[in-house]
């Protein structure tokens, strides 16, 4: 029994090692041809065997950051509402609902984004441009509402349930004695949140946000529906762009040559490195959270 269990654990570790090996081996032609310049080069022209992942990297980071910036305050608001303010009945309905929405598959979010969200964004963009046009991020509206901005919105909707469910669970772990003690000393509900709840959970909340970021960075299908599949860097969010996973999803089934396939494996390797860094970051932040919890 011990042997079987240890074998299973070993298999998990081996799978990960082999995963990196497969990416390295199949990406080898591209790795030896482009080297590290692959990461910064923004030219992606598979037909001419010129491949660089820079523009997609930019699109990946920008759309994910946008999603995190929008989803974090909203997610924390839901978490606070569900854990501290909502009446029991609302809590019993909305809590599981939010968790269910984390289970909706990405293909459905993508399809919904394309058919429902894109026309809506198309109407929204001119207004945003005239109101916030001073900032280069909000450039002139795109013709059909497809672009990095739309991808960021879809990612926001996708990671919102994750962040809210995680933060709600965290806020529920704050000891009642601390909250009641603060209230007994005359703190208003907001002062209890600011002085007790947020400081005791800050690293857990950050870990939840980083987890959401990791999910957004790796999302392929939903993004490929709405981002426009253009490998170029534009200042404006309303211009079409691309992300590494979305580009792999779009092009992997129809590569122009073997170097193109290899370049996609190399791009995958870049994505894995970013993903592992976010996993490690989340773990380190959450690790400190465990320490603070033990102190209390």
């Amino acid at each position: 029994m011990f042997g079987l269990c240890a074998l299973a654990g070993l298999l998990v570790v081996l799978t990960l090692v082999d995963l990196v090996y497969q990416l390295l081996r199949n990406g080898q032609p591209a790795i030896s041809k482009f080297g590290l310049g692959f990461i910064t080069s923004t030219e992606w022209k598979p037909n001419f065997s010129i491949e660089g992942v820079g523009a997609m990297l930019y699109g990946t980071v920008v759309s994910s950051l946008m999603a995190v910036v929008l989803a974090t305050p909203l997610g924390i608001a839901i978490g606070l509402y569900l854990s501290m303010m909502a009446p029991a009945r609302v809590r019993a309905v909305v809590g599981p609902l939010v968790e269910l929405l984390a289970a909706v598959p990405s293909i459905i979010y993508g399809f919904w984004g394309l058919v429902v969200l894109v026309p809506f964004v198309d109407k929204l963009e001119p207004g945003l441009h005239s109101a916030l046009g001073v900032i280069p991020l909000f450039g002139p509206a795109s013709p059909i509402g497809i672009g990095v901005f739309t991808a960021g919105l879809v990612l926001t909707v996708m990671i919102l349930p994750i962040i809210s469910a995680l933060t709600r669970d965290l806020f529920l772990t704050v000891p009642t004695e601390l909250k009641d003690g603060a209230a007994a000393l005359g703190a208003t509900p907001w002062e209890v949140i600011r002085g007790i709840v947020l400081p005791t959970t800050v690293s857990g909340v950050s870990a939840a946000v980083v987890l959401g970021l990791g999910r957004a960075l790796g999302e392929a299908i939903a993004v490929s529906f709405v981002i426009g599949d253009v490998t170029a860097i534009h200042k404006s969010l309303f211009e079409p762009g691309s992300t590494i996973p979305a580009e792999i999803a779009n092009q992997f089934t129809s590569p122009v040559n073997s170097l193109h396939t290899a370049a996609m494996f190399y791009a995958g390797l870049v994505l894995v490195v970013i993903g592992m860094l976010t996993s490690v970051a989340a773990r380190m932040i959450a690790g400190r959270f465990d320490v603070t919890q033990r102190v209390i």
Binding site: A103, W112, T278
Partner: protein, 306 residues
């Protein structure tokens, strides 16, 4: 009334019948608190509304495409027929993936809780590996299995798709069984040890039965997650006959998620309607599985007296 008391009430004469209303700094603090509470509530309502709109959008558009024949017929032509073969295909691939991932996941969970000490280096390495695996983008899992299975076999297959889904399920399964096994009271293990029962026997006849409900919940959730995955199947299992049922896993097997993914490329309104129908069926299956998992968890908690 003394001067000091007058000062206390900010120049107003003392009136014991006046209502107790906050003033000055307290009034400001309460106003700030109200404001934040209202903002948080509004944010929560807005976010929940957005999420409900997504589900409602899928349900309304999907329900119009839904009928018994839609679920029981194979697709015909470019935009006719139903999704029977895709449903069967998803079932095959996911069942095959679960067959690999569930035992390995449960064994990994057992290793972490029953055999490795919580502070041991192997256990920490393994937990770290599981964390990384859970955070892997699913399209990367697809690339991995493409290199591992599709390239050597020179063909895409439901087999490769199933292996990819198994890798998606494995960390979820391992983590959930680990959490459930940690909830099994230590007194049960100690009682078994006191009776001189060997460790593996304790695991099989005491610990696993006690944790059964929780493990089942984890299994359902992991399976539901895998059923909705598209990216690994796009890489490993996207070449198949779209209009036929394929029972052989070593050939390309159609799936509901690939059905939706390919439908949006077709320039036909009926194809989009059909895709909405498929999206609705997929979403309902996954949501029902999630609700079911929740009910099982609640019942098993009740049984264990927590």
């Amino acid at each position: 009334m003394s001067a000091a008391e007058t000062a206390l009430f900010e120049g107003r004469p003392f009136d014991p019948t006046a209502p107790l209303t906050p003033s000055g700094n307290l009034r400001r603090r309460i106003a700030v608190s109200r404001f934040v509470q209202i903002t948080a509530t509004a944010g929560a309502v807005f976010a929940v509304a957005v999420l409900v709109i997504v589900c409602y959008g899928v349900a309304v558009r999907g329900a119009s495409a839904l009928s018994f024949s839609f679920v029981l017929q194979n697709p015909s032509g470019l935009a006719g027929g139903g999704i029977f073969n895709a449903l069967i295909g998803t079932l095959e691939i996911v069942a095959f993936g679960a067959l690999i991932a569930l035992p390995i996941g449960i064994l990994t969970g057992l290793y972490l809780t029953e055999f490795a000490g919580p502070r041991s280096r192997t256990a920490r390495t393994l937990r770290f590996a599981l964390d990384i695996m859970a955070g892997l983008p699913t399209i990367i899992v697809g690339l991995f299995v493409y290199g591992l299975i599709v390239i050597p076999q020179h063909r895409q297959s439901g087999f490769a798709g199933g292996v990819a889904l198994a890798i998606v399920m494995l960390p979820l399964m391992a983590r959930s069984s680990q959490e459930v096994l940690l909830l099994v009271p230590g007194s049960l293990r100690e009682a078994a040890d006191a009776l001189g029962v060997s460790r593996w026997r304790t695991v099989l006849s005491v610990i696993l039965p006690a944790a059964f409900g929780g493990i089942l919940t984890g299994a359902i959730l992991a399976t539901a997650r895998a059923a909705g995955e598209t990216a690994p199947l796009l890489i490993c299992d996207s070449i198949f006959n779209p209009n036929a049922t394929q029972l052989n896993l070593f050939h390309g097997v159609p799936s509901v998620s690939m059905f939706i993914f390919t439908s949006y490329d077709l320039p036909l309104a009926q194809a989009v309607t059909r895709a909405w129908g498929a999206a609705f069926v997929l979403m309902m299956l996954i949501l029902i599985a999630n609700v079911l998992a929740r009910v099982i968890l609640a019942r098993s908690r009740g049984k264990m007296g927590r």
